[in-house]
Amino acid sequence: MDVSSDMVNRLRNGEMKAYQEFVEQTWSKSVRACWIILGHQQDAEEAAQDAYVNLFRNRSQLRNTDRFDAWFYRVLMNSAKQIRRRRRPTGISFHDVDLVDVSEGLGKADLRMSVQHAMGQLTDEERTTLVLTYFCDLTDREAASATGWHLGTFKWRLAKAKRHMGQILGQEDWLTDIAAGGVSS
């Protein structure tokens, strides 16, 4: 997330114009991060909205402006967690919708279906580790902090998620990578 220190200071000062810029700049990424975890677009948008409101409410708690990314993702993950607790019993999700677009060619469509299937097999916590590490580009420490888990717990869940993904997607090199202790840092 490319947020300047000036912007972070303006956010911390509660400047509404800065919030508007920040929301418009980061909205898609925030929703998509939540979507990967929650599987429902409506839930994801709701979680993202909650996160921005919570960000404003808790802005005075941001002590270290250099760690804004991790802090914001923590707020975002907490919002997703809250939404997950009151998740709708029915709804459209990537778990049960065919994401294949035949115009893309079958190879890509196959891969997308595989990822969809793999994601559906992961727990929410495992998907969260993948999102924070690979989608939000946080380090293990930052991601562990964002989830509120111990670093060891985070690494363990990430390793599990990668193993599951590797198994489901049939990519042996990932398994090799995991066996070598290759969690990102």
Binding site: E24, W27, V31, E45, Y52, F56, Y134, K162
Partner: protein, 439 residues
């Protein structure tokens, strides 16, 4: 692998195509959220206090007929000279005092002197401050604002008006009369004032008062609008916003189910000056039209003026929390139980019932109230068959949040019950929030 996984997730996530960022909704929630923390407990407290404390709205088209005990309490705290506007519960007028026209127009009859000392006149309202000097005696046992009729060129003006009055000394009262014209009035005219009763004394006090918008006009902005939002079966529209040195008046409209309690209030945020505009009780009253199962409410809301005229105002409708004892938070508590006991009214505070004294001619309930209202407004007493028992007097303040209420004689065996309710927070309708341009 890291790159592969990253690309995989990025590509996968592209399946989700969010709509554009709903900044309006987020901003509305942020504002409402902040308001929930600050406004609800502070400004709302003032607003409700203002409502009772101002005692306002005697006669006129408001339809209020008598002063409540609390109003009487408020009136006992007499306004000092130059504090009338504040005391009246309308600090906007107090801040706009520089726009007043000072004057001394006096009429005398029956030994009573009625003097108009200040007139404030803007696009929406006309306020008069007055002083009543008595010869050597009080008029009646409790003060009451005299009813004032207003004319222009001998024609009675179509105004909604009301006022309040309190004793300034043993022989003087001070008060104000607030009027909202129904229709256009000229910028300058001679207001003809007629009063036929002051206290319990009938007479004729006739005055001619020149009023002018000269001072206020340059600091007034009125915009006619046609902003509307609909969702589900609710449509909400803002038709007009008027910003004057003393106040902001928003004319709005919404549909409401006939018979449904409550209504829609407004929350106004001035983003440029970073402040919520404080709602003020009173203000003009609009209309309700019922057509089958739909009631259209034309409403107007009165607020303090912003510090400076902003280029826009942010309006968030809010379902008001007019208590409805038929809702499921309502509860009953037996009158005859071990004292003290507490009635928890949620955001409206707590009532602690300390004593019930049963005498042959009346039953007196002594209680303390801790909450945002000037007195415990929203509870009652009823018979086991659900018939309400109206108080004889009260709640009368004994100071320090202590009140007594006298009811007709009830016996412990009558099994009377308190009716109350636990009130939750009010509902901000963030989906209906609107930015109102004032340019």
């Amino acid at each position: 692998m890291t790159t592969e996984m990253k690309n995989l997730l990025l590509e996968f996530a592209e399946q989700c195509q969010p709509a554009s960022a709903p900044w309006d909704a987020i901003e509305a929630r942020i504002i409402a959220d902040g308001k929930a923390d600050k406004f609800r407990w502070s400004d709302r407290h003032k607003r409700l206090t203002g409502l009772a404390g101002a005692a306002v709205l005697v006669g006129g088209m408001y339809g209020a007929a008598s002063l409540s005990p609390v109003v009487a309490i408020a009136l006992d705290k007499a306004p000092g000279v130059n504090q009338v506007y504040d005391w009246f519960g309308d600090p906007g007028l107090n801040r706009a005092v520089a726009f007043d026209n000072k004057m001394q127009h006096t009429a005398s009859d029956r030994g009573i002197q009625f003097t108009i000392t200040d007139a404030y006149y803007d696009q929406d309202r006309l306020s008069l401050q007055y002083r009543i000097d008595l010869p050597d005696r009080m008029i009646g046992s409790s003060p009451a604002a005299p009813e004032i009729d207003c004319y222009m060129n001998g024609e009675k003006l179509d105004l909604q008006g009301g006022g309040a009055c309190g004793s300034a000394s043993e022989t003087a009262w001070q008060g104000m009369w607030e009027m909202y014209p129904n229709g256009a009035l000229p910028n300058d005219f001679t207001l003809q004032v007629a009063i036929h009763k002051i206290g319990g004394v009938a007479g004729n006090w006739l005055l001619q008062v020149p009023v002018s918008r000269d001072k206020t006009q340059a600091n007034t902005k009125v915009v006619e609008l046609n902003l509307s939002k609909a969702q589900g079966d609710v449509t909400f529209s803002i038709n007009r916003v008027s910003v004057t040195p003393a106040s902001v008046i928003v004319d709005y409209e919404y549909n409401w189910k006939p018979g449904q309690p409550g209504g829609i209030d407004l929350l106004i945020y001035d983003r440029e000056n970073g402040e919520y505009l404080r709602p003020v009780s009173g203000g003009p009253v609009r209309q309700r039209h019922t057509d089958g199962n739909t009631q259209t409410v034309e409403a107007a809301a009165l607020f303090d003026a912003p510090k400076q005229l902003p280029s826009s105002l942010y309006v968030i409708p809010e379902k008001n929390s007019v208590p409805d004892l038929t809702q499921n938070q309502a509860f009953l508590a037996p009158l005859n139980q071990t004292m003290p006991f507490t009635l928890d009214e949620g955001i409206l505070g707590q009532i602690v019932v300390n004593h019930v004294d049963y005498t042959p001619d009346k039953t007196v309930v002594t209680l303390s109230y801790h909450g945002p209202l000037p007195y415990p407004m929203f509870f009652g007493l009823q018979k086991p068959n659900g018939v309400p028992i109206d108080p004889l007097t009260g709640p009368v303040s004994n100071g320090n949040g202590q009140f007594t209420i006298s009811y007709p004689a009830i016996q412990p065996t009558d099994k009377a019950e308190f009716t109350s309710a636990h009130y939750d927070s009010t509902d901000f309708m963030t989906d209906f929030a609107m930015q109102v341009p004032l340019n």
